[in-house]
Symmetry: C2
Subunit: 389 residues, 2 copies
């Protein structure tokens, strides 16, 4: 049955509008909100009163007068509740406890190698328990848990396949909800990363962006009209298995010439290790060598940059996004990749695409996937909260 509009819905939408104005532009007075939104002053007053009642916003002291009565400033109550975001990597877990604005309150990091499925799950559960116990008191306490994970996740939060973890068919969302009795959202790590960049990172001013998660494999998170597009069944952004060289090397997926064979962290490591056989080098070693000016490594990085660009050009042609953000592990090589990536894109896209597109790298210090996952949950909570009554 379609949605029919009535006064209750009108009120909900307007209340949501008032709240988002405060979230995005605080501090604001009631008068400011009325002017910005076009709502009547009285309407704003009554909606604000309800939001204060629900502890979602606060009044602070009076602001500066501009020639008349001093306004009462309103703020979003960040601390009305907290959410937990988990970035589940191939050999690490990064957990954050954030307030409703996405500020990290507590974080916990664990690294490990080759542990079992059961072990990983129990570590995840323990980290969540720790974060819950570390949460400061608040009216709504913990309002949700978000998890970003490598692999194919369907619309119901089941991890169908994660080759790099060696897992398949894990009903993650259901299991965590059973344990914690809190709404859980499980998404592909590129999707949470995309959302993290959109909300808190370099993508804040774009409504149509593609986040390219270049780690061991390559995935993409797609933001269209400000919202995550996860595909019909949830599997969008599997761009790592896009064919860019149909006569190329064989991929584990069964196909040939997949992009991630040429442009992922794995590709970089493989290339670096055949060239410098004596001892195995990791990403950190590569960065050190690049800083020292090692010619072979610099050449390898340039090659990876070129390969990255080839796939990005394909993505630009298909999506015509406003912005491309390159994130995950390879973003730490920005310094050496960026010039080549931009040069090749400049060379092989039409001038129309060039003028408007921005290419950026994630800031490696920001855990976008974890805070993006947390932000998903926070958003879901606020939406549900406004729905009530």
């Amino acid at each position: 049955m379609p949605i029919t509009w009535n006064q209750q819905l009108v009120k909900k939408e307007n209340k949501s509008l008032v709240l988002s104005q405060i979230i995005n532009h605080a501090p604001l007075s009631r008068a400011d909100i009325a002017q910005r939104s076009g709502l009547n002053k009285g309407t704003v007053s009554s909606l604000v009163a309800e939001l204060i009642e629900e502890k979602l916003i606060n009044e602070s002291g009076p602001g500066e007068s501009s020639g008349g009565r001093r306004p009462v400033m309103l703020h979003f109550n960040h601390g009305a509740g907290h959410t937990i975001g988990i970035d589940l990597g191939v050999n690490y877990i990064l957990g954050v406890l954030t307030d409703l604005s996405g500020n990290i309150v507590v974080h916990k990091n664990e690294a490990y190698k080759n542990i079992s499925y059961a072990d990983t799950i129990s570590r995840v559960v323990n980290i969540i328990k720790f974060l819950i116990s570390a949460a400061p008191p608040s009216p709504y306490h913990i309002v949700g848990i978000g998890v970003g994970t490598p692999g194919i996740v369907d619309n119901k939060g089941t991890l169908l396949l994660a080759p790099n973890l060696g897992w398949h068919d894990i009903p993650f969302q259901t299991e965590l909800e059973k344990i914690f009795q809190i709404p859980v959202i499980v998404e592909n790590e590129a999707n949470t990363g995309a959302y993290g960049e959109k909300r808190f990172g370099v993508g804040q001013h774009a409504d149509n962006l593609i986040y390219i998660s270049a780690g061991i494999g390559i995935g993409a998170g797609i933001i269209i009209n400000g919202e995550l597009y996860s595909g019909f069944t949830g599997y969008s952004g599997e761009v790592g298995h896009m064919t860019i060289d149909r006569n190329g090397a064989k991929c584990t997926c069964g196909n040939k010439g997949c992009w991630e064979l040429y442009a992922s962290e794995q590709a970089l490591l493989s290339k670096a290790n055949t060239k410098n056989s004596p001892k195995e080098v990791g990403l950190d070693d590569i960065i050190s060598l690049a800083k020292e000016g090692n010619k072979e490594i610099l050449e390898t990085l340039a090659e990876i940059g070129e390969n990255l660009a080839v796939g990005i050009i394909n993505i630009i042609h298909a999506f015509n996004p406003e912005q491309i953000i390159i994130g995950n592990r390879l973003a730490s090589c920005k310094q050496w990749l960026e010039p080549k990536v931009k040069e090749v894109i400049q060379q092989y896209t039409s001038p129309f695409n060039q003028t408007d597109i921005r290419i950026d790298f994630s800031s490696p210090s920001m855990p976008v996937s974890a805070i993006g996952a947390a932000a998903f949950s926070a958003e879901a909570f606020l939406k549900a909260q406004l729905e009530i009554k």
Copy 2:
């Protein structure tokens, strides 16, 4: 300024809901609409009265009784106005006059070879004039013109570049609006085709679909959540220039190994003509030869099918759509392309993608691009009409 919700907007939305129920499920009685939509009977009655007043719907004779008073059946007034759709091809113009439901009332076809820009424009204008004069009388007369054209079109309806037409920077929309004083919409031909398939073709039941227009070049129209996604600046779907063989042949776009070098009508013609040198064969000849069972042609078609599949697999990985529709000229080779396309897709996509995706071909008899363009205009008219008062 954001939209604020008030009673007028509620009414508009509900009126729009009532109208769309009638459009999609006519004949319906007032009682049917109330039950389907959840709106109150009285509300439906009053909205229906206004829609009748505005000539957008009609009452017909009483329907079948189901044990009580006989219902008055309501119908969408298809003929309240008409729209014009133009499919501007490389060497043809196809114009249709449709009613507001997309039924073709009059159509006009012109084929030509190598004529100038000025000549083409004047033919387009003449066809539109003819179609306007051929329109039956109606309350709203001609409510809009839609044009689908090969090439890159920006958000303002300017044809930035059409290599196959040899045109660039044509402010099509502005010029036609100046001449006819009616709202004009200009879109890439793949976009109008996608919309045509969604509304009237094989894509009617999918809300996330990609229409692949395989003609001289290859373009794609993207429907996400039931709506056309045309990219940030309008250039999405340039998938013909997606690299599938980075060491491959050079393309006119400056890049190497573009998909349309291997899988377009042009690719088919080139291959067929090197193999059968004596006289130049066209698409019709190829179809005849294939029907006769000509081995070389059948092999060539299989090869094109395989190449088509390679690009489609990339698109599936990126978008995870519900449906892929292959249209334009190559759709007439469905019989020979389909088995190979499906076989290769089956082989090289993950099982998750296979179970849910439908691959279809356009029906060659339906002028999807023209009726899609017309439908864009019709939709814009109805939206604007409901906006008033």
